[in-house]
């Protein structure tokens, strides 16, 4: 028995069977900044985790900088809206399929699917192109404050999801309670979690529960009574969807307030009172600030440890290691502390984590299973390739953009790789590499120093594509795949001519892409 197995069996004897409390990732490093200037490997690691993989150019631009300088560069100072949109459809109103004849209904819904595909492709291209950390962070929030495109028998209208995407992106480094308020009154969210149907005397608990269980405190920090009272606070908001339905003062696709449907009575929530209101002050502005913002503040005031630990833990799993049973408690607790002591601002939390010595610790490198979007955007980005309909690939790998299976979001971790999705991943990578022209393949290796020396080239390519150094035998194997029986002194001659180099380079890259750690980052 290996030592680790023995250790495991001893641990298991001492606890209830098969329920695991979190076991620590033991490192001597913590949240203090990574002490040394970034090497190229450090830069690759940062770009894999904070974004969708390195490019050679981006990685080289970070080498020699301190981790804090590099992370500040990735986070930027302000977040500008994107300069393009998925299409003119984002501002178009949409007809109501309910009540329409079947042909019309199908046509409307088919248009939504087309638009959703265009939104997803647009976003994946943005991920591929992104040299900052913003798209990756927006994806985190999109999976945290979840909505689905298709659920039950209905859909979220793509126009509303586009607006939601922009809202998530603008808030991605902002103030968390204010972010949660924007999410609560987000038009797509008001529809998705039943707020639209949550009315005075006819409460619908759906959003109220998820606001706490999934968005702020995590499970176990509230009573069923809190759920019921929060639902009352949230009554009266409507989602704006179709061109034959009423809209509020902000126009189409903005949630609006219907005073008659708001429960004006006093609410008792987490031991605090939200005062009753009269008809005079039953307005959108007052209910928003005095009730909903107050509700969110109460959660943060009454359960600060829960909220900060819940979000810190989730960020840790997103950026460091997604295993539900392994974590570094000190790091997560420290991160939660940063969150609380910075008045719930997100930026310092992300900055501290990504610049930390723990983040760069060898013990966590290569531990993440790439999500389908990380895999797809990463392959395209790292090989400098493009793909016309990447969202179709991500769907086949079980990650449809903005359309997770449930409000919990993607189950994540090892569920990303199954006998169903793994073959599709391999197929995708093989296709992208196979479509590289001879000239593109040659340009790819020319971005490495001393590319005419195969023994210097291959270790660099491996470091660029795989997260952790590999054995000499594996490097030797990749050299062989490139040389294909030619002696290594022939390599300068081979790469002098794209026609002879192309196929050899593709073979080497395909061989590397077959390795299990090509799925890791």
């Amino acid at each position: 028995m290996r030592r680790r197995d023995l250790f495991h069996s001893l641990v298991r004897l001492g606890e209830r069977p098969h329920t695991s409390n979190v076991t620590p990732i033991v490192t001597t490093t913590g949240l203090e900044p990574h002490p040394t200037p970034l090497t190229i490997e450090d830069a690759y690691h940062l770009l894999r985790r904070a974004g969708f993989g390195p490019t050679r150019q981006r990685a080289r631009s970070l080498v020699g900088k301190s981790s804090e300088q590099a992370v500040d560069e990735l986070l930027g100072t302000t977040i500008e809206d994107p300069s393009t949109t998925p299409g003119t459809w984002v501002d178009r109103t949409t007809e109501n399929p309910a009540g329409a004849d079947l042909q019309t209904r199908f046509a409307i819904e088919a248009q939504w699917s087309t638009n959703m595909g265009s939104l997803a492709n647009w976003w994946i291209q943005a991920m591929v192109a992104d040299d900052s950390a913003i798209e990756k962070l927006t994806l985190f929030w999109s999976n945290h404050f979840t909505t689905e495109f298709s659920f039950d028998e209905t859909n979220s209208i793509p126009q509303t999801l586009w607006r939601q995407y922009l809202m998530l992106r603008r808030n991605s480094l902002g103030n968390f309670p204010s972010f949660a308020l924007d999410v609560t009154l987000d038009n797509a969210m008001v529809w998705y979690l039943g707020g639209h149907f949550n009315e005075r005397g006819r409460p619908n608990e759906n959003y109220a529960r998820e606001l706490m269980e999934l968005f702020t405190t995590g499970i176990g920090w509230y009573t069923e009574g809190d759920v019921k009272e929060a639902a009352r606070v949230l009554t009266g908001w409507k989602s704006s969807r179709f061109n034959d339905e009423p809209t509020g003062p902000d126009g189409y696709y903005h949630a609006y307030f219907d005073a008659a449907r708001h429960d004006t009575g006093a609410k008792q929530f987490m031991g605090q009172t939200i005062a009753a209101r009269t008809a005079d002050n039953n307005t959108a502005f007052q209910v928003r600030t005095e009730e909903i913002a107050r509700l969110i503040d109460i959660i943060h005031e009454q359960r600060p440890e829960a909220v900060s630990a819940f979000i810190a833990d989730k960020l840790y799993r997103y950026y460091v290691y997604s295993s539900p049973t392994e974590s570094n408690r000190q790091v997560v607790a420290g991160l939660a502390n940063v969150f609380r002591s910075n008045n719930w601002n997100i930026r310092p939390v992300i900055r501290t984590l990504l610049a930390s010595a723990h983040f760069f610790d060898p013990a966590v490198r290569g531990a993440q299973l790439k999500t389908p979007l990380e895999f797809i955007a990463g392959v395209l980005r790292q090989f400098g390739s493009s793909e016309g309909n990447p969202q179709d690939w991500s769907r086949r790998m079980d990650q449809s953009v903005m359309d997770p299976p449930t409000v919990f979001g993607w189950p994540g971790y090892r569920s990303w790789i199954s006998t169903n999705s793994y073959p599709v991943r391999r197929n995708f990578a093989q296709g992208v590499i196979g479509r590289m022209t001879d000239a593109q393949a040659l340009a790819f290796i020319r971005s490495f120093d001393d590319h005419t020396d195969i023994r210097k080239l291959v270790p660099q390519v491996v470091a660029y594509l795989l997260p952790v150094p590999v054995s000499e035998a594996r490097v030797e194997n990749y050299i062989k795949a490139a040389l294909q029986n030619a002696p290594d002194y022939d390599w300068p001659q081979i790469v002098a001519d794209a026609a002879t180099a192309g196929q050899r380079i593709r073979t080497m890259l395909t061989t590397i892409s077959r390795a299990p750690d090509f799925q890791l980052c």
């Binding site: 209830r16 329920t19 028998e153 299973l369």
Partner: protein, 520 residues
Amino acid sequence: MKRRTFLQTTGAAALGVNLLGGVPTRAFSPVQLLPTVTDQNDRILVVIQLFGGNDGLNTIIPVDNPTYYQIRPSIGVPKEEAVSVLGRVHMHPAMDPANVYNMRRMLEDGRLAIVQGVGYENPNLSHFRSTDIWLSGLNSSDPNVRLVDGWLGRHFSRTVSGFPEILPDHPLAVQIGGTLSMLFQSPKGDVGIALTDPQKFFELGQGLSPDLDPMSDETAYGREFNFVRLVAEQSDRYSSVVKEAFDKGRNTVQYANNGFVRQLQLVARLISGGLKSKVYMVYMGGFDTHVQQQSADLTGLHPFLLESLSTGVGQFMQDMLQQGQAEKIVGFTASEFGRRPEENGSRGTDHGAASVQFVFGPRVSSGVYGNTPDLGNLDANGDQRFQYDFRRVYADVIETWFGGDPADTEELFGERILPLGVLQAPVSVDDAYRGRDNVSISAWPNPTTDKLTLGWLQTVPGSVDVELWTTEGRFVKRLHRGWFDPGQVTLPLRIEATGSYLCSVTVNGRRSTVPIAVIR
């Protein structure tokens, strides 16, 4: 030996025997022992997950309870619209779709059991936590306790020797769908495969085996590397096995054109084609019916889901019966919770607690288990109380269907759970010879204040265990263990704590139960 050669030489022999064979991977012991055959039976389990929380009260309708109609003014199913079956239960009419073999007919034909009031203590109203509880078989409400693997994953990983270093020739479990359920995850890796399209799986899966040895699992990187490596190995290996079964298999029923029904159609075809997987799992979402769950004419979202379920199960069963495969199949439904009895304001229902579970197949003891839900005695949240621990059917599966014993159940669930008795153990010659037969127990006085006498007629000598359980099926204590000679047995007992219990008498491994009550 090269892996391929090994496969070819053992393939033929392995075809007839379950779980025989397997491949050595290079990094482990140079002397590979063939795994022992742990499970010679060919029995199959089909798990149907109904995600979102199925509304039990609008599935099996409590038509004679006026409270039901008071708390469900807009979505209650009127008695005259509900389908009365065998004069015992009323089903939602959507459960009885026309012109198709369905669950109403299965109940009439003795192939369906309805278990009412299935749940667990301290119900958790989170979809995710409650789903994890159902799939792991562990009831822990402590959010710091992470539920990370499934009871079937654990069962196979501990009973199939050599796993995962030696992979069985056929996948132990097959999930129809893209993502493998936690049900099939184990501390040693996935015991099952996820499958949507056998043809595509075959085309893409071939040759994916990585030409790399497993790594040391002392680092997180090494562990995840090995995980991916195992999936790659399974993809390569099982893509041809599945394809072979798919090509050989057939369906004899014109299945309804419905995503959920098609999943069961695929399961039927794989079974028909000789795939030796022990468990298949199919999935239907949409049960989180907070809004507009049903229109005034009893159509809408929830009825559609019920119709899909009834059609799928019925057609699957008909197909398997026609192909002579049904006797080895049982299935059950699992949904994380029921809905709140009182409807909400959106023609829907919010998260609830106990609900109804279906168990199906020719080998079930057909009928209705449990009482009609007591809507006058709800819990603090206004939810239904549970009558049966959700693991009681699981315990049947382990102990009766897959040939395990109470120690297996205890190991899997961390406590002993009384099998519901909904599955019939096949009676063998050996059983009859050893007197393994159920006995009829009488208990008097019952109710009692403390002292109680049990009596039964024993036909052969044997060891007897007398045990006490909660009415929901959780173990309380052993009352007696001993040897009895043939004849009328009387056994005086004393029970301290008041309450309602089940008392079980297990003679030579065959268990019988009697309900008792202690009142002071």
